[in-house]
Symmetry: C2
């Protein structure tokens, strides 16, 4: 079995981005808005800061208390949209439940929306155009497959999970690259049998050890986004597997900063 190491590719992207970002006369700045104190969010932001430091980009970490209003956040996004020194804006998801996530995300200028979640960027992605700002996890999955020369076009790709952040973007990305795509979720019957038919299985369920022997087949490529795979059980069966940690996670961070570069170039062209 081949281990699909995301850290190697992450380091290559890191080196390239460091060179590219150094060409600009001013620092590249990413604003990260965090609402509340969710531990997962804090950990994800820390990963982004570590990466930003290494490539010479700046993260402005903006914290709002959980009892703030959507209007305050949207007002802050407006200030960041207008600031020419800010090249990317993300709102760390998921938000505490009283907030209207869609309305807050939509306030971001699509040219600075490096999470690729505004309507304008999602529409372009839905049309099948992969050259815009698409969600970093989807981009990371494509980069991983391409690096390890795993074919996509004409292959059966099955995704477990239909979230707006991971499952649906992964499906759109693989579809745009010519895979025959199946989307599974908690209502899917015979999940294991369907997963087994895939050439490329992407799991984004967030259920430890959901994916065991009965989900996989010989030669299959398994991309474990949600830490769902019982790697001990499947390692002697599948053809290739991402480790966790060290698989999709590092790719997602690196691809987010690829989007920051893209956003800065969009800006430069104006």
């Amino acid at each position: 079995m081949k281990i699909l190491d995301g850290k190697i590719i992450r380091d290559e992207i890191l080196a390239r981005l460091k060179t590219e970002f150094a060409k600009f006369p001013t620092p590249s700045r990413l604003a990260v808005i965090q609402i509340g104190e969710c531990d997962d969010s804090t950990a994800y932001i820390r990963q982004k800061k570590i990466f930003a430091d290494k490539i010479g980009a700046t993260i402005e970490h903006i914290k709002f208390p959980e009892n703030c209003s959507s209007e305050e956040i949207i007002e802050k996004i407006g200030v960041l949209n207008a600031d020419n020194g800010v090249h990317g804006i993300i709102v760390q998801l998921s938000l505490p439940k009283d907030f209207n996530t869609d309305e807050i995300i939509e306030a971001i200028n699509p040219n600075k929306d490096i999470d690729g979640l505004t309507a304008k960027n999602l529409r372009r992605f839905l049309v099948g155009d992969l050259d815009g700002l698409i969600p970093a996890t989807a981009r990371g999955i494509l980069r991983l497959l391409d690096y390890y020369q795993i074919p996509i076009a004409g292959q059966r790709a099955t995704i477990i999970g239909r979230s707006l952040l991971v499952g649906k973007p992964a499906a759109l990305a693989l579809l745009a690259r010519g895979a025959t795509v199946t989307i599974c979720h908690r209502q899917t019957k015979n999940l294991a049998a369907i997963a087994k038919e895939a050439d490329i299985l992407i799991t984004a369920a967030g259920q430890n050890n959901l994916v065991g022997k009965e989900f996989v087949s010989s030669g299959q490529t398994v991309i474990d986004v949600g830490n769902d795979v019982d790697s001990v059980a499947v390692k002697d069966m599948v053809g290739a597997l991402t480790p966790t940690p060290g698989g999709v996670g590092p790719m997602t961070v690196a691809c987010l900063f690829e989007n920051l570069l893209k956003a800065r170039i969009i800006k430069s062209l104006k």
Copy 2:
């Protein structure tokens, strides 16, 4: 085999819409922009006019010559957006190839976008919300399945075709209703075998007689959007089939006018 007659449901929707539209003090108006003289477009617009006449709505058919500019069309859309007496705006697709379809569609006020193709409406649909303005063919497919009490949640639905107008919206609609969805297209290998596995097979390929015996299985529901099915070959095998004409086509027209009603209600609420 059960025939999934779209005309019966179309007539029920027609009667309901006639009653609903009669409640407004002014006529409900739909502006249809046609660029060039494509025969298919002219025929589709004629269908819409016939339906509009029956429910007491008005269609304003606006023709542009093929040698007009995108700016002229976008300017006209701006006038229609600003006109409170216009409740829906559609641009009859597909456009002659020199036009930037996405840019023209995006000029439509999302509250009048009854084809459901602007970024704002597509994003809402992508999130999984079926209550907004979604493309009429996708809505028509759901209405057909519901009318004939064909279950969707937990079923395997396979779509042949990945267009922005039909294939992808059908996939999103069935996914939002809990189906396990597979999207096939011209790069799909073993298309017949994959189609055969479906509980609900939706064909939107636009290839006469593509779907023969080897694509279908016993008890399967087949929705023929693209006139792709060799109905003589499959009729004794499948459980249910839409006729062409008389299946999805009439549903699409009826659901477009359901969207016009929805758009007018959105407006009334403001």
